[in-house]
């Protein structure tokens, strides 16, 4: 697209390597940006796109590799240096001072002065001009916090553009924008391209990639996969590049659920906020139902609404065919639903308490005699589950904080089993758990399902989804966009559904 206008290489990142404790986030990644091109950066969750951009803009330092910018080797140590050199980034998460005005936000750190006094009038005037040029209708005097998220995003984009820059990075800029706002953004991007700027565009939205970008660099698991010319590639090519890993774990081949297994949970047209739109599904006895999708697809939000942790706007929930009202988490637990949060340490455990205390936390009534807790009974039951789940701990008096991630997860599982929950929602059950412990958790989940527990498993890892699920629900932007049996499921058709917008 408009290939003849694409000029010289302005940025060349070569062999970029970056490790965090326990994670090898970037493994020799290459990226080349030319003047006057829009370059898409694509990959699954955790492929390393944002990390690469953070290395470029000086938020992280690289371990290995070189960055050539305008022919010079550079290594920015903070975002300010990168900005001054002409590299701007529009972050995925908004970076706004909500209490200040729009103009004050745009000019933060480089206020226009009248002696010692800030000239707010002039800054508003300049912002107005900038908005006119970009065709954005926002009052620069308005307080930022009063704007919709989409308009805040447009301000953030205006802020980035208002600096003298040669490269501008958009990290999922359209997630919060409406269709008209997206059209406006694309017009802005085309203008920037005409001005010979280099543009990096990170998005999961395939149609946008086809529409606006010239080339696509694909990343997978922290590695560089390929750079394609957008015009000459199909959606298939891109998806194959994104998911084309060799799966070491054997995927499940067929469902373990008998066809006549009763429906234990039925969710009808669940709606909550902006992230859960009319989601309906059924969960059978003994089934592991995988929830797949990209970041921000609304999976956790669906689980939280179902569990009564967030307010529902509508929808019906049936348990064993009976309609139930779940308004609070207490209602959910009473109905036999247990929720294992993705952030165990924050929402799942009281890490400064013992294994025994954590195990009985959700069902303390059963371990109380009047006002007092029956310590003996507590310890006995906790020990029983330590044995059952093969939790590695010196004893039930051990503080949970001293256990490894995998064993902490087992304590959370014990807690819900002791509460007699028949429906368990696992949100990213193996996040932060090392490989060995992972397969133990998998084994445990399969065993629970075989015993007749029903499991909803939210996972961002494709291999995990394919290995564990009997059936897969795929979500995209708050909607259910696919329901696939394990027999039919492939990485490709899941990714298709996960990028399917209306």
């Amino acid at each position: 697209m408009e290939g003849e206008k694409v000029g010289n290489v302005i940025l060349k990142m070569k062999g970029i390597d970056k490790s965090f404790p326990g994670v090898h986030a970037l493994k020799g990644v290459d990226l080349e940006i030319k003047k006057g091109e829009v370059h898409a950066l694509m990959g699954e969750n955790g492929a390393g796109k944002s990390t690469l951009m953070k290395v470029l803009t000086g938020i992280y330092s690289k371990d290995k590799g070189s960055i050539l910018y305008e022919g010079r080797e550079v290594a920015f140590t903070n975002p300010k240096e990168a900005q001054e050199a002409g590299i701007s980034i529009v972050h995925q998460e908004l970076n706004m001072m909500n209490h200040l005005s729009v103009a004050q936000n745009i000019f933060i750190g480089r206020e226009m002065m009248n002696g010692k006094i800030i000239n707010d009038g002039k800054m508003e005037e300049e912002s107005r001009k900038l908005f006119q040029k970009l065709n954005i209708d926002i009052d620069p005097g308005e307080i930022m916090g009063n704007l919709t998220v989409g308009r805040q995003q447009m301000c953030e984009i205006a802020k980035a553009i208002s600096r003298e820059c040669k490269i501008i990075v958009f990290d999922e800029p359209t997630a919060a924008l409406t269709e008209t706002e997206i059209e406006g953004l694309f017009k802005i991007i085309r203008d920037l391209r005409k001005k010979q700027m280099g543009i990096v565009y990170i998005s999961h939205r395939m149609d946008e990639i086809k529409k606006i970008t010239d080339r696509v660099t694909i990343m997978r698991d922290g590695e560089y996969v390929a750079t394609l010319i957008t015009e000459n590639s199909t959606k298939d090519d891109i998806i194959k590049g994104m998911v084309g890993r060799v799966i070491y774990e054997d995927p499940k081949e067929k469902s373990n659920v008998p066809t006549d297994a009763p429906v234990v949970l039925k969710v009808e047209n669940l709606r909550a906020g902006k992230m859960v739109k009319d989601v309906s599904f059924e969960l059978h006895k003994g089934e592991i139902l995988g929830f797949s999708g990209l970041m921000g697809a609304g999976r956790t939000e669906t689980a939280r609404a179902l569990f009564g942790a967030d307010k529902k706007d509508g929808g019906n929930i049936y348990i064993n065919g009976k309609k139930v009202e779940i308004k609070t988490t207490k209602d959910a637990v009473k109905a036999g639903i247990g929720y294992l949060s993705e952030d165990r340490k924050r929402y799942g455990l009281v890490v400064e308490k013992t294994v025994a205390q954590n195990s009985t936390m959700a069902n303390l009534e059963a371990f109380s005699k009047g006002f007092f807790i029956d310590k003996g009974k507590e310890a006995k039951t906790a020990l029983e589950y330590v044995k059952k789940l093969k939790t590695k701990t010196p004893g039930v008096d051990q503080l949970v904080v001293n256990l490894s991630g995998g064993n902490q997860q087992k304590v959370v599982i014990a807690k819900w089993l002791i509460r007699n929950c028949d429906i368990l929602i696992f949100d990213e059950p193996t996040r932060g758990i090392d490989v060995g412990a992972k397969s133990e958790i998998y084994h445990l989940m399969s065993e629970l399902a075989a015993q007749g527990k029903s499991i909803i498993m939210i996972s961002s890892e494709m291999t995990e989804i394919l290995r564990m699920s009997d059936r897969i629900i795929v979500m995209c932007e708050g909607r259910k966009t696919g329901e696939i049996t394990i027999e039919e499921a492939t990485q490709e058709n899941i990714m298709y559904a996960a990028t399917k917008r209306d």
Partner: protein, 328 residues
């Protein structure tokens, strides 16, 4: 209510500040109606006298609260600096001008220490300033050996300093010069907060620290400055307190910080940071000093002043919370 809210004058002043201002007038008139002796020049002077030390402290701490922090030490820093400086003046013969400057400097130094603990050592503001609250209380008592310090009286040679806050002319007319000084300070600091870079960065980092840092602003420096303002004004409040009340007891300032914080919050500055209004703070301070002065007129003692201030504080913030909930 909607129509009123969109009125340009109301919008410029802000709903909560307007409500607070109306409350101030209503409270003042109510005392007068209950006891018409309240409407007198002498009473107004008394209201002013009670407003100075709270007012100066409140101006300073508005900056800290705007960063989303808190400064619990200002009350005891007030008494600590007034004790130390006054002791040197009375017992060691330090002249009055350096004494006053020293009093302010001690306050600023505590502020610098607080700012450093919060921005560099990353201590939670509550803990850092709780520590310096105890520290300043103890140090003040150590220096004076747990004795009170009586600053020089008007009739003494160096007594002119008392005219800074209150002129008692020979004809018996009282001129509340402190009021002029307080309002002038408020105007200057309002400009600093709203119209200069330091103020802008303090509000910005109070709204979103990380975003401000990513915008290339030296957030540590400006966060520290907010605490320096707070300490500096606690020092000035120390001078005003000494000049009005003369006698400083060790630990006299304990609890003063709560009056100042209440004033700031009644005036519409939110404890979560990002906004702050010196004009609002002044209204809040005067509500407190009107209550302090007025309640004895209707036969209620100072304990009732605490009750009344507490109620006003809760009602004021509740109105703000309701407003916000309707909006959001």
């Amino acid at each position: 209510m909607e129509g009123l809210k969109n009125n340009p004058i109301v919008k410029a002043i802000g709903t909560q500040r307007l409500v607070a201002f109306i409350a101030l007038i209503v409270i003042y008139l109510a005392f007068g109606l209950l006891n018409n002796k309240f409407f007198s020049y002498a009473t107004i002077v008394n209201i002013f006298d009670a407003s100075y030390y709270i007012g100066f402290m409140a101006i300073g701490i508005t900056f800290v609260i705007a960063t989303g922090g808190i400064d619990l030490s200002i009350g005891t820093v007030l008494s600590c600096s007034a004790l130390m400086a006054g002791y040197l003046n009375v017992s060691k013969g330090l002249p009055i001008v350096p004494t006053i400057l020293l009093c302010v400097a001690i306050g600023a130094l505590f502020g610098l220490m607080n700012g450093w603990m919060v921005s560099k050592m990353k201590l939670p503001p509550f803990i850092a300033t709780l520590g310096s609250m105890m520290l300043s209380k103890g140090l003040g008592a150590i220096v004076t050996m747990s004795q009170s310090v009586t600053w020089k009286s008007s009739t003494s040679e160096e007594g002119w300093y008392r005219n800074i806050f209150r002129i008692n002319s020979q004809s018996g007319v009282i001129v509340p010069t402190g009021f002029i000084l307080l309002i002038a300070s408020a105007i200057v600091m309002a400009i600093v907060l709203n119209k200069t870079r330091p103020g802008r960065y303090i509000l910005a980092l109070g709204s979103n620290l990380e975003a401000t840092r990513l915008s290339g602003v030296d957030v540590d420096k400006w966060q520290t400055l907010a605490y320096v303002f707070s300490g500096l004004f606690a020092g000035i409040a120390g001078v005003s307190y000494a000049s009005i009340y003369q006698v400083i007891l060790p630990g006299a300032g304990s609890g003063f910080e709560m009056d100042a914080i209440a004033g700031v919050v009644i005036g519409g500055t939110s404890m979560s940071g990002g906004n702050g209004t010196i004009a609002g703070t002044m209204i809040g301070v005067f509500i407190i000093s009107v209550l302090k002065t007025g309640l004895p007129f209707i036969g209620l003692n100072t304990a009732w002043q605490q009750v009344a201030t507490g109620l006003v504080l809760i009602i004021a913030v509740f109105i703000d919370v309701c407003n916000r909930r309707r909006k959001g």
